[in-house]
């Protein structure tokens, strides 16, 4: 394996600190890995502008690269184009669902003013029992990127990753 491929593999296999079931690659936040001499240059995009997990992601990438034999690295964060849940890979979506987090639908795209969302969103399907009888408890759950739901059939709570 070439040096850059090893570096890329090390970076891409780092787990998301907030959702340690999906890798950063599956989350779609790795925007580039390059090898410049013996220094690895990583471009990382934040999910949300204020996401506190970003600092942990940086630390984990640095540590993973050091373990893979790349002690020198530079990690820059990229604001544009803005991250979208559409970049979460198929395997990432499967893993989220396996861990009781229903994956996001297609991200809304707008030209001009953003329309108001007044009607309740259609209920999510319970990732535990498959029932469609669920309710949204809160638009914001443990992190900004997820909402909190409850299943009326099996009584269990679950989360949904919001499309953004």
């Amino acid at each position: 394996m070439t040096g850059v491929a090893r570096a890329r593999q090390a970076v891409e296999s780092v787990l998301d600190p907030e959702l340690p079931v999906v890798t950063l690659a599956e989350l779609g936040v790795i925007r580039g890995v390059e090898l410049n001499g013996d220094r690895v240059e990583v471009a990382l995009t934040p999910t949300y502008t204020g996401c506190p997990a970003l600092a942990q992601m940086r630390a984990d990438i640095q540590a993973a690269l050091a373990r893979a034999g790349f002690p020198r690295c530079e990690i820059t964060t990229v604001l544009a184009p803005a991250w979208t849940t559409d970049w979460i890979s198929e395997s990432g979506r499967r893993k989220l669902a396996d861990h009781a987090i229903t994956p996001p639908g297609p991200a809304p795209r707008h030209q001009g003013p953003v329309p108001l969302t007044l009607a309740p969103r259609p209920p999510e399907t319970c990732p535990r029992c498959g029932s469609g009888g669920t309710v949204e408890l809160s638009r914001f759950s443990g992190t900004a990127c997820r909402s909190l739901h409850s299943c009326t059939a099996c009584g269990e709570p679950f989360e949904h990753m919001k499309a953004i």
């Binding site: 949300y48 604001l79 544009a80 809304p108 108001l116 007044l118 638009r139």
Partner: protein, 296 residues
């Protein structure tokens, strides 16, 4: 692994990267073209970023005061998450101010300025609770007004000639959409709820309307930069915001907004603030001022 100290087992000695409050955020601007657009006055650009950044910083601080004091735990989390989004915007914007001015950094701007040096709109600083005299309905009224206004500004700012402002606005608009949705749900729930919740919601809206016109009064810096395709003239979003508010209030079975001008057109942008900003800054800045240079 036996350990004598659980804390030491949890933290790693080799880095402090896990602390979100680490400084040096300027790298977040690294992959965006940071040049000042041709013909744009650096002082104007810095001042504009300061206005937008102070709006976000001061409002984030206000919202975070609700954490652990909201009516239910889900609301604690929601308001804290909204505050966190805004804090993220503030960090990018204040880092940009320091970069354009070639002076200081985001921390110096957040912690070492006094009230007259802040450029936020007064709506952001109002003490609407959870302390004495505060009210959850008024808090939701402000969130609806602020996020509707900010979203209208950011959707336009995404086309700014300043690449950094454009990048932040495109990203931030997606986040603010969720803030506005959250406020909308509460305003409808309270307005169309019981006669008691309706009275509280009405009083909450009345508490914020006097600060609405300031949002749409262009400061000369905004006017100059808007003419150059860098800023958004806030007067141009007034109709859209009024339309959004009117639609929400109709669903909440409440009358349309009644903006009442309150003196100077843009006092906050000129550093003229209410007496409620001082105590907010006292709390936000106390640790850094008591222990300058302290780190985790």
């Amino acid at each position: 692994m036996p350990t004598e100290n659980l804390f030491k087992a949890l933290v790693r000695e080799d880095d402090n990267g896990q602390w979100a409050f680490g400084t040096g955020f300027t790298d977040g601007l690294a992959r965006v073209d940071r040049g000042v657009p041709e013909g744009v006055d650096r002082a104007d650009l810095a001042e504009y970023c300061l206005m937008l950044g102070d709006d976000a910083l001061i409002y984030a601080q206000r919202l975070s005061e609700w954490c652990s004091k909201a009516p239910e735990i889900e609301e604690d989390i929601a308001l804290a998450n909204i505050a966190l989004d805004l804090l993220g915007h503030a960090r990018v914007l204040l880092a940009r101010v320091a970069e354009v001015r070639e002076e200081g950094d985001e921390d110096a701007l957040a912690y070492w300025r006094d009230a007259p040096q802040f450029r936020n709109v007064r709506l952001a600083e109002l003490d609407l609770g959870p302390g004495p005299g505060g009210d959850f309905a008024a808090t939701m009224a402000r969130l609806l007004l602020f996020s509707s206004w900010r979203l209208a500004i950011f959707t336009r700012l995404a086309g700014s000639r300043d690449r950094l402002l454009a990048a932040l606005a495109a990203k931030g608009a997606k986040e603010i959409t969720y803030h506005r949705d959250h406020a909308t749900q509460w305003v409808i729930r309270l307005g169309a709820g019981t006669s008691y919740s309706r009275a509280r919601m009405t009083a909450g809206l009345d508490a914020v309307w006097p600060y609405a016109e300031e949002l749409f009064a262009p400061h000369p810096v905004e006017t100059r930069l808007a003419a150059q395709g860098v800023a958004v003239d806030p007067a141009t979003v007034r109709t859209e915001v009024l339309g959004v508010l009117t639609e929400v209030l109709a669903h909440a079975e409440l009358p349309p907004p009644a903006f009442v001008p309150d003196g100077e057109p843009h006092p906050g942008r000129d550093g003229e603030h209410t007496e409620e900003l001082g105590p907010l800054l006292d709390e936000m800045q106390s640790l850094v001022r008591a222990m300058p240079g302290a780190t985790w």
